[in-house]
Symmetry: C2
């Protein structure tokens, strides 16, 4: 059995080439040592069936590390300590052994989207690969089977190939600068606190269930002893109301829903701009969608007359939501 | 001795009419019960010299409370339990006793700027009062001695009388949507995480000392056992680098400083827009500045040809930084 592991800043995702997937909450910024436990549990779970482990990462950006270099090496050490000779996917889309990571750590930073796009490109020579996750969105042009994206996060932020917002964890204050409220659609400034996240908006709009709201809410601590209420619709509406320094009594459900709708519009608009520039530059018309934000991809692509192929329809929702780990496992099986 | 208390979401500020001021970190969202301790300490400190206590608040917006009503009543209870017959400043700029708070809690929400502006208006009949704090900025037009500002935070966010950003705690991702980098001034998207705050920008630009960086940094937890390093210049530069998913090795000090400069420009621009609209609407030319962001006020006002009178030059820096609590103490002394 081939296992792919994607070490993110908040979650470590694990998948096998035959389709088992798992995501474990292991926030590196809180306790990076927890990564060792999560990996040890996986090692024990797979036992002797495990043939080889491949790894990608983005967790090196976590602010528990002074530099990405330090982050890559920490993550590499955790993997190398736990598994026998793990394979690390690099920026040239090749698997390397751990001694190669020591020589050039930065070649192994931010590789999870590369594994996904490499795997997708095997069957789709001309398409834009989009993966909207909990926190970020990758938008990767594939032309003639070649990945046209830049290789560092910094360069990808410039080109629109990385949009640092997602469906669950994104602070609404980072997405919206103003909102329009009331029948007059008056412009209103917003609070810069972490009062509400995109998961609140999409829960309220019906795009997510309480179970799919799988991250912590901004005011989780306020629900000690009544955790069931944390992700209720009314709690999400209350969080959205605080974004304009209000509360649900004052703003009303309609007002809170208006904010949620503007969150959705902002995310569609961001993605649409990226898709549009790549469509024009490369003449691409097909969008391959992984992740958990198909509803955003569809609206953005439809408005540009682009076709969408959701990977969930091929691999199922769970694999599509954890695609880099699965892609690594499949690529490793292929190369072995 | 008359004591003014300003209960915020993060800090409780205490001042006396004769000029003693103190600010205590009591984040309501983390442990609201801590407010009782802070108030009890103050009560003990002043002892028998205490003649009367006046209170204002903004902490009712903290997301440990479901509604502002609940927040106001919690804060009122903490004050009433600790002090004998405290006086609560209301939206009509009058002191009321606690039974009045029970009858109409919302009349006592978000009152700290009202106390400051009322006190300032005694001597300045025509001016714009600006208080840039750690987290928010109040911009209050005073015309013929009358406060022209709306009375709720929601309405003030619409009118530009409340700008929800400050000099210390504001997430840079809420201020900037893009930054320009490099000699080509290329546009670059930014991360929506809480990677860096305005205190990082102003420390790096030399507007704040390490001591004045008086809030927690975003990655405080990463400095256990070496707390002295948390607020160093290099730590702030590293945090700024993460805003574009980079690190200091890759971005370089110049790149991080460019981000800090754009944070400053964004805050000046926001304030300038508010000042300009009030200058035009009311024909005001004088800005009275409290808070800790005089350097922002000066640049915004200068660009509009407005004159600035910093309250620090009259009352000293410490009182100007804790102005609502001081104003409450002085108003209470005046009315008693």
């Amino acid at each position: 059995m081939f296992v792919g592991i994607d070490v993110g800043g908040a979650n470590t995702k694990i998948a096998t080439s035959d389709g088992f997937v798992d995501s474990r909450y292991a926030p590196l910024w809180r306790t990076k040592e927890r990564l060792y436990d999560v990996l040890a549990e996986a090692n024990q779970q797979f036992g002797t069936e495990l043939e080889a482990v491949g790894a990608v990462m983005t967790g090196e950006l976590s602010d528990c590390f002074e530099t990405k270099r330090e982050g890559v090496l920490y993550i590499k050490n955790a993997l190398s300590t736990t598994f026998k000779a793990p394979h690390f996917f690099d920026r040239n889309c090749m698997f390397k052994e751990s001694s190669e990571v020591d020589k050039d750590p930065l070649s192994f930073a931010s590789t999870n989207w590369l594994a996904s796009a490499t795997f997708v490109a095997v069957q789709n020579k001309d398409a834009i690969f989009v993966d909207i996750g909990s926190t970020t969105t990758d938008v990767i042009p594939i032309v003639g089977g070649e990945l046209k994206a830049r290789r560092t996060d910094l360069e990808r932020l410039k080109s629109g190939e990385l949009i640092y917002s997602g469906i669950l964890r994104t602070n609404i204050a980072a997405l919206l600068k103003k909102v329009k409220l009331g029948v007059l659609r008056e412009e209103c400034g917003i609070s810069s606190e972490l009062f509400a996240i995109t998961a609140d908006a999409y829960l309220v709009l019906g795009h997510l269930t309480e179970d799919e709201y799988s991250c912590e809410s901004p005011n989780r601590y306020a629900f000690a002893g009544r955790e069931h209420a944390e992700k209720s619709r009314v709690s999400a509406l209350r969080r959205l109301s605080r974004v304009v320094c209000s509360d649900l009594d004052e703003l009303g459900e309609d007002g809170a829903i208006r904010i949620a709708e503007q969150v959705k519009s902002a995310q569609i608009k961001e993605l649409r701009a990226s898709l549009n520039s790549m469509k024009e530059k490369y003449g691409l018309d097909l969008v391959i969608a992984a992740g958990i934000g198909d509803f955003i991809v569809h609206e953005a692509a439809d408005s540009l007359g682009m076709q969408v192929m959701p990977l969930a329809s091929i691999y199922g929702k769970r694999i599509a939501a954890t695609f880099p780990a699965y892609a690594v496992a499949r690529l490793l099986a292929h190369f072995s």
